[in-house]
């Protein structure tokens, strides 16, 4: 079942032509309307007309999250604000978040992407979609919402949280498709157990899970516990939000919706483009985005591309499930956390750059973040009260900056392991 068979199953030569045409347009618009892109391209000695074939993409400079931060809030927008109809913002970053904007057409593109994604999981106008992604600045909630409405499905905008009510709605409204983070799906199961609700009594058939990395083991766990088919969806707000890539019914890689997003895999160290099949960092160029065109955006997600034909009939390239990052970002309950963010908070609070370690655990089915901070002589006090106040202050500042609950533990100097002089910043015990 396809949402848009013509585009999703377009023969590859034709698709390549479409991609090239759209790429040229995008580069031209970015160069013309966004000074930051123009400066970068001028510095690299490349002009829009140098893009004559798809391979020429490799000559364009990369765009990074830092570029978005530098352009805060609207510096990379390629349209006047009168054309921007929606603004979203990424979760937790140091100081300033990254801001993304959409024109009316961008929102239309986005709902089209999500309509395709939902259709991959079997959604139709008869489906009842319970959307438990957070609504708000986060792209997850509204992204899924508009896609489901586009299909004509009945949407329950339950957003995140209030799990007992979620289960009640699921029972009473007969939800057939659940959309949320995979860890929240497992948590829902626990709450169902507590409430005495049996998943087999529900009408749930499929779940679309994303916004955090999850393994095949977790997929099996969700599927056996909830008795549904669990699909992986990929997306990031910088590109559009959820709906950049989605698993088809074969669930053997995620089709990247190539008529709108051009993927590359690069060596994260050298920036060199890698051939299909090789493992590296995913780089995406948007092909139709108006408000915020992205040229070679470095996602930092590690994966590989599979160009072999998929039995589902879709011709779009498949990316492997993302399980790693080329930086040390961790995703906790859908929120992106960078060790560098912790570092700058500690610098502010303690006035020195202390050694620290992020420890992530999955307790039950929810992720918990503990930040261990070495007590330096500078912050040490002989009074318990002062150390507890320090702990509280660090926790408050971290929670404000990261947007997730944090447990802070003060530890002795030099107790955090250093390898080759450089401290390890993250221990992820979630068994990815």
């Amino acid at each position: 079942m396809y949402w848009n068979q013509e585009m999703e199953c377009m023969p590859r030569p034709q698709l390549a032509d479409l991609e090239l045409r759209r790429l040229k347009e995008t580069v031209f618009r970015a160069y013309t309307f966004v000074p930051a892109y123009r400066e970068k391209m001028d510095a690299a000695g490349i002009k829009p007309y140098d893009i004559q074939k798809l391979e020429d993409l490799a000559h364009l400079p990369f765009t990074t999250k830092q570029d978005l931060r530098d352009a805060y809030p609207f510096g990379l927008f390629a349209v006047p604000m009168s054309e921007v109809v929606r603004i979203h913002s990424s979760s937790g970053t140091t100081g300033k978040p990254t801001v993304v904007g959409y024109t009316q057409k961008d929102l239309f593109t986005w709902s089209e992407m999500m309509a395709r994604a939902l259709t991959c999981a079997g959604a139709t106008r008869h489906s009842i979609v319970q959307n438990a992604y957070g609504y708000g600045l986060f792209t997850g909630g509204l992204g899924v919402h508009y896609g489901a409405e586009r299909i004509g499905a009945s949407v329950i905008p339950s957003s995140g949280g209030n799990t007992k009510r979620q289960v009640m709605l699921m029972q009473d409204f007969g939800s057939t498709i659940l959309t949320c983070t995979p860890s929240y799906a497992l948590y829902m199961y626990e709450v169902m157990q507590e409430m005495g609700v049996r998943p087999s009594d529900l009408r749930l058939k499929a779940g679309i899970f994303g916004a955090e990395p999850w393994t095949e083991n977790m997929r099996r766990e969700i599927e056996s516990k909830l008795g549904i088919a669990a699909y992986d969806i990929y997306g990031l707000s910088e590109i559009i939000g959820p709906g950049v890539a989605m698993e088809c019914e074969l669930r053997n890689g995620l089709h990247v919706f190539e008529d709108h997003f051009l993927p590359e895999i690069i060596n994260p160290e050298t920036g060199e483009v890698l051939p299909p099949g090789e493992h590296g960092e995913l780089v995406i160029t948007t092909l139709t985005k108006e408000a915020l065109p992205m040229l070679r955006y470095r996602t930092r997600d590690l994966t590989s591309l599979d160009v072999s034909p998929c039995p589902c009939g879709r011709t779009h390239v498949r990316m492997k499930k993302v399980l790693g990052r080329s930086d040390d970002m961790i995703i906790i309950r859908g929120v992106n956390v960078f060790p560098s963010m912790v570092e700058s908070v500690l610098l502010n609070v303690a006035g020195v750059e202390p050694h620290y370690l992020l420890v992530v655990d999955r307790v039950g089915s929810l992720d918990e973040l503990e930040v261990r901070v070495e007590v330096s002589e500078k912050v040490f006090s002989d009074e318990v009260r002062k150390l507890e106040e320090l702990n509280r202050q660090i926790r408050k500042e971290l929670e404000g900056a990261l947007g997730v609950a944090v447990k802070v533990r003060l530890v002795e100097p030099k107790s955090i392991e250093r390898s080759e002089g450089k401290a390890r910043r993250v221990i992820d015990n979630r068994k990815m």
């Binding site: 040490f380 150390l387 002795e412």
Partner: protein, 142 residues
């Protein structure tokens, strides 16, 4: 003023042993100690024979350590001895951050280590009230 050495300790087996061994190996004698603890960490407070050297050695060994000025008051080792002193301190508004006591080798008196908000003022007050406190050298040499 008496110098107290404070050391940050994680709530883990062997940490206290490690500090005391480090001091012992350096020939530093512990005169008094107290530990303030929470569920995650503890603060070890020490009165030692040579605080400056103890500070340097512990720092060298990688501990988070600080020196704090405290007052060692000689308290009559009789019922109500400590209460009498605490009462006059309360009247005078001298705030105590913490205190710990030990019975030294000096006959009838116990020693109480006070950490107060304003040590200079406290010392002056004790002098005026005739409350005997010990000079640093006396404490280190106990």
């Amino acid at each position: 003023m008496v110098k107290q050495i404070s050391v940050f300790l994680e709530n883990k087996a062997g940490r206290l042993a490690s500090v005391t061994r480090t001091l012992g190996d350096a020939g530093i004698n512990i005169r008094a100690l107290s530990i303030a603890d929470t569920s995650d960490f503890g603060i070890l407070r020490l009165i030692v024979s040579d605080p400056d050297r103890a500070y340097a050695i512990l720092k060298e060994a990688g501990f988070a350590v600080s020196e704090t000025e405290v007052i060692a008051v000689s308290v009559p080792d009789t019922p109500g001895g400590l209460a009498a002193i605490l009462e006059v301190m309360a009247e005078a508004g001298i705030n105590i951050e913490y205190l710990y006591a030990f019975i030294g080798t000096r006959a009838e008196n116990a020693l109480v280590i006070f950490k107060v908000e304003d040590p200079q003022r406290a010392v002056k007050f004790f002098g005026e009230r005739g409350i005997s406190f010990l000079r640093a050298e006396e404490v280190y040499a106990l």
